[in-house]
């Protein structure tokens, strides 16, 4: 009798927690895609909240301080870890994505202060939605600069 009480109580709590996690996941899940995957979805994904990963193209960064409007392009980087490894690691992949003019690019706009880490060849993870003109409106920017592209080791002293 004593035991049943505890088991029933435990099961109820467990059910409540599972329900909590389930509803929270359902309400807040966002697709995580590469630029190519987003473009492939096209109109079907417009105005739905998604997460996008890509490489920041430094030349395209523009900031209008009056309106705090930031725009820049991100270039397609593969989402699959095996592909990234095959191309020599994240830093090399980001570098290659930015210098390759044939990569798919996505225009991004964001309203707010310009993040410190926004620079050429940074990895950007953006949360937001695509509008019908194909511009991505980011609500949140997450930026990461991989350790510098390593073939940039400077010259040797002496010789």
């Amino acid at each position: 009798m004593g035991r049943t009480k505890f088991i029933v109580g435990g099961v109820l709590i467990l059910a409540a927690v599972v329900y909590l996690i389930f509803t929270a996941t359902k309400a807040n899940a966002e697709y995580f895609m590469t630029v190519d995957e987003l473009k492939a979805k096209g109109a079907s994904i417009v105005s739905q909240d998604v997460r996008i990963s890509g490489a920041v193209v430094g030349d395209t960064i523009q900031y209008d301080a009056n309106t705090l409007t930031l725009t820049f392009d991100i270039a397609q980087v593969p989402g699959d870890q095996k592909e990234v490894d095959a191309e020599g690691g994240l830093a090399a992949v980001l570098h290659a994505a930015v210098i390759d003019p044939n990569r798919t690019r996505l225009q991004v706009t964001y309203n707010g202060p310009e993040p410190d880490l926004l620079k050429n060849e940074a990895q950007a993870i953006l949360t937001g939605h695509l509008d019908s003109n194909g511009v991505f409106h980011a609500d949140e920017l997450l930026l990461k600069c991989p350790t510098k592209y390593q073939s940039a080791v400077p010259n040797q002293v002496g010789g």
């Binding site: 996690i21 995580f32 301080a65 870890q81 490894d85 090399a92 997450l142 040797q156």
Partner: protein
């Protein structure tokens, strides 16, 4: 040369660690005290050896030996010496050395204690700590060597692999190769050059490493079958210090994010943050539930499971916080050491759980839990909620992988997921914090509990009603503030009840009564202080999450922005060179409340030309009511239209930091050494004779 020496010594340390594992097992199996003693001495040798190796590494760091790849990556000539030293734990390879250094120090401290009463634990404690040390040393020796060089071929060019990455190794990769010496290093990311960021990782690591000690004793208890609560008593203080350091690490990290990252918040539910939070959650649950085992002889299996989980999460957390690969969900395996970590975690976890299952029958409770409202039942409930928070966190981290596996589409969850899922669980924990101290061990009924709590509950309702009419009508905030008030009132009432009893009985004044009271039961009253601090932190968290307001705009000189009663006037801006090569752009703004001048603030942007990196440092004005937090977003010397600011008002957030300081104070009270003998007597009085088992004789 120094690098070769450092590498040589750490390789020797690795071998010594393996020897001590082997000698301890052999000595235990053959009942040879000499072999166990040899294992103990080998383990004591680890700390001096790793210290030598670490000293070599520090020497290389401060003397600009950029031919060593690790030194090149984390330091540069312009960095001041103290930053070069702290760069030791600024990169992955160095921080693995740092980890093993701490681990060996703690292991040595443990083996230096008096072992007369616990002889049988010794070999197994050596085995567990030495395996852990050996794992990290092995990573250093075979995978992430901080001493490895760059090499150049006969043509004096850097030797690179097929993908263009430089080859780094200890020994010449080809005949005729010579060491390649870059002119200057990469330097530490400027964002990390902050005092909070310099002591944050060591604190976190101290916390991580200290949790290995209770785990080692738990495993020793499982293997030897001495499954009474001796292992818990020996390691109680270690657990508390581990918890203190881990909490310190979390707080410092939050403060760093608030001061440096310039987004007006302190916690972003980033996977790296979650990785540090997870062992804290299981550790906190463990701290609570060991009390049940000590007082009532219950939850023994559960405690074992919690410490095993904590250990696995510590190793997992070390990996996640250091490999720096987490902003992408695909990145778990990005670092070369990822798979090795997962194998180690898997093997240690499965072995530990197998041992636990083997000893399961011995770990049955000495009594049964009867009443659902008894103290022990409420503690169990508290544990379930902590574990639920853990499950939420874990789910959030692995959900992308799971969705990828089952649907082929990666789906992630962001901060809103954690907030919605965790908030009710924390509310439940707060309710328990208010009720549990009033419930009795063994048996409590709704009636007795209600009688104890109703006064505080009514008073808390009154507080909530006042807040409703004067401050906010947000239902979440009001629920939160009600719970905060309830816990604070109950806790103060507990202090008052016990202190006034002392005052009457011992004729003491209120201060000496409180002092003696706390001194007599440090764990209990230290715990209450921690509860109070948690509530202050809750006020801050509710404030910044629910009431934060912000504005932004570009204003010419002498013009102003207004927000929530504050007026911020832009006075001037200046550009000048700062320390370690940075270019500082500093604005001066004056802050008014109505017509009342409050002072000047100096939001600034520091630009590091060598890294092409900005660092935005907000101007902050902190009061108990709110923080005014001003970010200089943009200023161009050529533009005539002024400067751009973003302003946050973060209500009540200062209570978070005040709470954090009181929190540390509370842990110190609880962890302060007291004589062990007293604790043993206390238990002997409580537990009836029949329930006590002679260690080792029971089966």
């Amino acid at each position: 040369m120094v690098a070769d020496f450092g590498y040589g010594v750490i390789t020797v340390a690795f071998v010594v660690a393996l020897y001590s594992v082997g000698a301890a097992i052999y000595g235990e199996r053959t009942k040879s005290a000499r072999w166990v003693e040899s294992a103990r001495r080998a383990m004591l040798l680890l700390w001096p050896l790793i210290t030598l190796s670490a000293a070599s590494l520090i020497y290389l760091l401060i003397t600009n030996h950029f031919e060593v790849s690790f030194v090149y990556e984390v330091t540069s000539r312009e960095m001041p010496t103290y930053l070069k030293i702290t760069a030791w734990w600024g990169g992955q390879a160095g921080s693995l050395v740092f980890w093993s250094w701490l681990m060996s120090a703690f292991a040595s401290l443990v083996t230096l204690r008096k072992w007369d009463r616990d002889r049988e634990f010794l070999p197994w404690v050596i085995v567990v700590t030495s395996i852990t040390t050996a794992f990290f040393l092995g990573l250093v020796v075979f995978y992430e060597n901080p001493f490895a060089y760059y090499w150049s071929g006969p043509d004096h060019n850097l030797i690179v692999d097929a993908l263009g990455n430089p080859i780094i190794s200890m020994f010449a990769p080809a005949a005729g190769a010579s060491i390649y010496i870059p002119q200057d290093g990469n330097g530490l990311n400027p964002l990390l050059r902050h005092p909070g960021m310099i002591i944050h990782p060591p604190m976190l690591y101290l916390g991580f490493v200290s949790f290995v000690i209770p785990f080692a004793f738990a495993i020793a208890a499982l293997i030897t079958g001495r499954t009474d609560d001796r292992w818990i008593r020996i390691t109680r203080r270690w657990t508390l210090w581990a918890w203190l350091f881990l909490s310190c690490g979390l707080v410092l990290g939050s403060r760093w994010a608030y001061d440096v990252l310039g987004w007006g918040g302190f916690w972003g539910w980033d996977p790296v943050e979650i990785a540090a939070l997870m062992p804290w959650l299981t550790g906190t649950a463990f701290l609570h539930s060991v009390m049940i085992q000590e007082k009532r002889g219950l939850l023994k299996q559960w405690n074992m499971l919690l410490i095993i989980l904590t250990y696995s999460l510590v190793i997992f957390g070390t990996f996640l916080t250091r490999s720096g690969v987490l902003s992408s969900v695909h990145a778990f395996a990005q670092s070369a050491i990822g798979p090795v970590f997962f194998v180690f975690i898997g093997v240690t976890f499965i072995t530990s759980v197998a041992l636990l299952i083997y000893r399961w029958p011995d770990l049955r409770g000495e009594t049964e839990m009867k009443s659902m409202l008894s103290r022990e039942a409420l503690f169990l409930l508290n544990n379930l909620f902590f574990i639920s928070v853990l499950v939420v966190c874990f789910w959030g981290v692995v959900f992308p992988l799971i969705s990828q596996l089952f649907t082929g589409q990666t789906v992630t969850v962001g901060p809103p997921f954690y907030q919605t899922a965790v908030a009710p669980l924390f509310a439940a924990l707060m309710l328990l914090m208010g009720v549990a101290p009033l419930s009795a061990w063994g048996h409590s009924s709704l009636r007795t509990l209600g009688r104890a709590v109703w006064k505080s509950a009514v008073a808390a309702l009154v507080v909530t009603a006042i807040l409703f009419f004067t401050y906010t009508n947000n239902p979440i905030a009001l629920t939160g503030f009600f719970l905060v008030a309830l816990v604070l009132l109950v806790t103060f009432q507990e202090f008052w009840r016990a202190a006034s009893a002392r005052m009457r009985a011992q004729h003491e004044n209120v201060f000496s009564a409180l002092w003696r009271l706390v001194g007599r039961d440090r764990r209990r009253y230290g715990g209450y202080v921690i509860h109070i601090s948690m509530m202050l932190m809750a006020i801050g968290i509710l404030g910044i999450n629910l009431f934060q307001v912000q504005t932004q705009g570009t204003v010419p000189v002498n013009d102003s922005l207004s927000l929530s009663g504050y007026t911020v006037k832009y006075d001037s801006v200046a550009q000048f060179p700062g320390p370690d090569g940075r270019q500082v752009t500093r604005a001066v703004v004056s802050v008014y409340q109505g017509n009342n001048y409050l002072g000047d603030l100096y939001p600034r942007i520091d630009y590091y030309p060598s890294d092409q990196q900005n660092m935005t440092i907000p101007g902050e004005r902190s009061t108990l009511k709110d923080d005014l937090y001003i970010i200089l977003v943009d200023w161009q010397p050529t533009a005539a239209n002024g400067a751009t600011f973003k302003i946050f008002v973060n209500p009540l957030v200062n209570w978070l930091w005040i709470g954090a300081i009181i929190f540390l104070f509370g842990i110190i009270i609880a962890a302060w050494p007291e004589r062990e003998a007293e604790a043993v007597r206390a238990r002997a009085r409580r537990v009836p004779q029949a329930d006590r088992k002679q260690p080792g004789v029971a089966d």
